[in-house]
Amino acid sequence: MSAPAAPLTGRVPARRSLSVRPDPVALLALPAFAYLAAAYGWPLLVLLGRSLSGPQGISLTPLAQFLSDPFSWRVIGNTVRTALLVTLVCLLAGYPAAVALARARGAVQGLLLLSVILPLSVGVVVKAYAWQIVLRRDGVVSGLLVGLGIWDAPQRLLFTETGLVIGAANVFLPFMILPIYAVIRQIDPRLAEAAATLGASPLRRFLGVTLPLTLPGIVSGIAFVFSLAVSMYVVPSLVIGDRFQTLATLTGRAFLFMRDEQLGSTTAVLLLAVAVAVVVGSTALARRLGGGGQS
């Protein structure tokens, strides 16, 4: 029993010996819970209700209607394809960065850490705006690629899917690096040494020891980046524009410009379902992998 609660419960006579006595400290959670329930929990239920109700009560008609339109499938395809590409780029760039971050010491580690945390602390509008500048035909990337002889003539990456993937990967990369870094930091370096003593080659040591141990971090990194990339809104608006629609940009447009709230609610609930599935699935998977790694 906590200190402030002890004298209080001492004075209250127990009416039924085994009944649940409400802990007075629990009341301190009430304002936050009530606030979030009213300002966030209830609105989510309203959204679910809107998307699942037709003129005659509960129905899946809006969803079925949305899914029967070929345009919708193109939008879903755009969303999933770019999210997968962004996740892949982040994984390939993020894993080595996380390994280096865990191995680095002193000032080098400080600098690497800063290069991850500072961009993370800057708003997405600022970064998306910078990518709009960088990806222009006369921008830095085009100039660099021409200078290196990779491109013959300057090209525009802005308003292309490649540009979108580059910009989004840049914004979400820290969410891949940090979870993997957190896991690598806790790995006992003696494990790889032990494998080396037993004659394992560097490649076998990586595939047999390091990689399995870092899997929980990889899983949560992928989950973070994928769910962020599926629902990104600011980056596509600035980097690729209206001609390329994803579920998130369509949701935003439906509410802000088209005033088609039925469509917007349907796509919003699809996004919600993806997000919940990714969070729940990845948590369960990471827990199983984590348990397997320790045993």
Partner: protein, 266 residues
Amino acid sequence: MTATERTALALVWILAAASALFLMAPLVVTVAVSFGSSAVFTLPPPSWSTRWYERLWTSRDLWPAVWTSLRVAVLATALALVLGTLCAIAVVRGRFPGREALVTFLISPLMLPGLVVGIAMLQGFRAAGLRDVGLSLLIAHGVITLPYVVRTVVAALSLFDFTLIDAARTLGLSYPAAVLRVLVPGLAPAFLTSGLFAFLASMDNYPISIFFTDAWTKTLPIQMLQLVEERPDPTVAAVSTLLILLAVAVLILGDRLVGLRRLAEV
């Protein structure tokens, strides 16, 4: 160390350095453009100037937005610090069922797509008859700042040794005095850093604010995006540079309070 290992390690370092440069690139570009004289974003700038900052200083669109954002961020952070800390005390010190579920619920606004949360609030508030844009904006920002406080203060309280308070009382302090002299200083770093990051999250939020905006109430990110679409000149880069400076200031404070390595554990 074999040759293969050395090559692999060198490759890791090269890729990590490339990632670091890639991550910093947008910030460097923004600062460079904001101090350049070119109106068409030529990089590197032909010459340096502060003309975009002068234009920003006299801007009629951006200052009201800066003011709105600051006001909302301060109020929402204060609200989150009060509600979040009370709730964290209940979760760590209380004995009631569902504490873990409660924390998950309080942190969940960060795990769901911002756009979806914004739309849900738009519909929910409307159904509840709340029409005031400024108040809606504040309530919405309270929801996105609360998770930062709950997460950090719960973690800090779980590590706090509460027998220290008993010790202080044995030494003659009253209970409130013991809390004030022992618990509050122990929690201050977590309190301040979570407040700072909650403040940043509110300042930078776009996908939720966009639904609680009208001609008079616009937050800075909303106004910035609108300017980028209407009149693309480096004035926005100048505001962006100020926002980057704000993030740097928050990180310096956070580093002093708890250290960069602890900040990376978010």
